[in-house]
């Protein structure tokens, strides 16, 4: 008798984790070459049940988020495989059994669950190995390690977090490729090269696995890999102002601005950030962690650096509109009669307190960019940072 069936539709299997061992593995996870994961549970000497599970379902089962009964009785595909093997090790039969037809006494008691905890499983590393084998960059993000037991993220929070992460990668990829621009859309080819896709989520403190859409080139590097390298480096730097300045000066304004937006989302989500980059190129990937306190400090530092990096403009103007409560302004530039309007920055609030409409001023404006999340189109906005009477 063999432990694993051979020459069957299940493919070539290998055990990845054993949960119960009693005179041999009795409850374990295995996978085939096509990376399909099965939860295998022993029935008797020659019979097993194999339950196909997705990576996220697998994580839920091993962490105990769902019971063994639930995993089998309500299998994702609504059926499980009954495997019979001969004493000589040959697979005699593999039969598909609808979950609803499973006899009650084949199932574990409803309350039984595994309790491997929230820790990232070796299997996830194996999943990452899969992505590496396929030549794709794989990036794992874990949230809420500072909030034990929290295993959900509001969609309203997760959306902006992923959006700003992708935007930061786009800008980093463009900058590292030496094609940095401060304004206008990033070329479509660059956006394709840095595009990441969400491939799975994980139970426990919330985990996300993303994989690059592009495949490693013959030379072992992709724009996505370079962008991820830049991103991990920024996380590793944390809130060290000197190192952040050096790095962001190299990466230019757009990358600094996008990284700031990502940090703002991390801070709003109130989460520690743990990342694990598995690169298609061996030896390049690495792990990094940013506790929420560091994210707060890093955000403040990047805001300061960004101000220094961003383009500023000084114009002689007439003040034509001012709303102190809403913190908005409108001016007419004197020489070319150009109109500017927008938000009043924190540092300009004291300047505008007693400003008068139709008086002449020297205004200092800072250019910011906002991206339309639907179209990806960027719009330039001028923020008022100082207003001095002539």
């Amino acid at each position: 008798m063999r432990l694993l069936p051979t020459n069957s539709v299940l493919g070539t299997l290998e055990i990845v984790e054993i949960y119960i061992y009693y005179d041999g593995p009795r409850l374990f996870a295995c996978r085939n070459k096509a990376q399909q994961i099965f939860l295998a549970i022993w029935m008797n000497d020659n019979e097993w049940l194999y339950v196909p599970v997705s990576p996220s379902r697998f994580q839920s089962v091993r962490s105990g988020a769902i019971t063994l009964f639930e995993a089998i009785r309500h299998a994702e595909d609504k059926s499980v495989l009954e495997v019979k093997m001969s004493l000589e090790g040959q697979t005699l039969s593999v039969r598909d059994i609808p979950c609803e037809d499973l006899p009650a006494d084949w199932l574990p008691d409803p309350g039984e669950r595994l309790a491997y905890g929230d820790a990232k499983s070796n299997f996830l590393s194996s999943a990452s190995q899969l992505e590496r084998d396929s030549g794709r960059e794989v990036f794992f993000i874990r949230l809420y390690e500072n909030q034990p037991g929290r295993s959900e993220v509001p969609a309203k929070r997760l959306g902006p977090l992923l959006f700003t992460f992708q935007e930061a990668l786009d800008a980093l990829g463009q900058s590292i490729a030496g094609e940095s621009t401060n304004r206008g859309p990033i070329p479509a080819g660059m956006l394709v090269a840095t595009q990441m896709s969400l491939v799975s989520t994980e139970a426990g403190s919330f985990g996300l696995t993303l994989a690059a859409s592009s495949i490693q080139s013959l030379f072992g590097n992709t724009v996505a890999a370079d962008a991820l390298d830049g991103f991990v480096s920024l996380i590793e730097i944390g809130s060290d102002i000197q190192k952040l300045t050096e790095q962001l000066v190299k990466l230019k304004t757009r990358a600094a601005s996008k990284y700031r937006k990502f940090l703002r989302e991390v801070v709003s989500t109130n989460t520690d950030l743990t990342i694990d980059w598995n690169s298609a190129r061996p030896g390049r990937g690495r792990k990094a962690r940013m506790p929420i306190s560091t994210a707060v400090d890093a955000l403040a530092a990047v805001e300061g650096i960004e101000t220094k990096l961003s383009e500023q403009l000084q114009v002689e103007c007439v003040l034509v509109g001012l709303n102190i409560r809403k913190r908005t302004y409108e001016i007419n530039e004197v020489r070319e009669q150009k109109k500017y309007s927008g938000r009043i920055a924190d540092e300009a609030v004291s300047d505008v307190q007693h400003a008068r409409i139709n008086d002449r001023y020297t205004a200092t404006l800072r250019e910011n960019f906002e991206t339309n999340p639907v179209t990806g189109e960027e719009k330039s906005k001028w923020e008022l940072v100082a207003l001095k009477q002539l």
Binding site: M1, R2, L3, L4, E14, I15, I18, Y19, I20, Y21, Y22, D23, G24, P25, R26, L27, F28, C30, I41, W42, M43, N44, L68, G89, D105, W106, P108, D109, G111, E112, L114, A115, Y116
Partner: protein, 128 residues
């Protein structure tokens, strides 16, 4: 102690201790027979992909009765089996704690040449 020739070198491992004390094992029949005490290596004719060979040469036992309950709650086969206990006053082979995530008191018991494990295991009368 002398070990069967199919045991690999360095098996039992150095950190295994003399097997003494109380532990439990499932058995098909009452009284326990030799068929109930065949190790994985012999039972599978050496075909144990995914399992450690030295571990496969030992017998699974556990020291906490709660683990017997747990196994029965998860696997239908154990619901039908007897629970047998061994109470060893003198060292009889080697034993090592080999827990898994779900069965914490799992131990591996290596039985030396000349010892019939089945003669040391007595079926426990259970109130079901």
């Amino acid at each position: 102690m002398a070990w069967p020739e199919y045991f690999p070198a360095d098996c039992p491992p150095d950190d295994a201790t003399d097997a003494v004390g109380n532990f439990y094992r499932f058995a098909e029949s009452d009284p326990v027979t030799g068929k109930d005490c065949i190790c994985l290596w012999i039972r599978q004719n050496g075909n144990i992909q995914g399992a450690n060979k030295c571990g496969a040469c030992g017998l699974s036992v556990f020291t906490d009765l709660k683990d017997a309950d747990r196994l029965r709650k998860i696997f239908k086969t154990y619901r039908k089996k007897h629970l047998a206990a061994a109470s060893l006053a003198t060292p009889t082979g080697k034993i090592k704690s080999t827990p898994t995530s779900a069965i914490k008191s799992h131990h591996t018991w290596w039985v030396p040449i000349g010892v019939q494990a089945e003669t040391l295991l007595i079926v426990v009368k259970e109130h079901k």
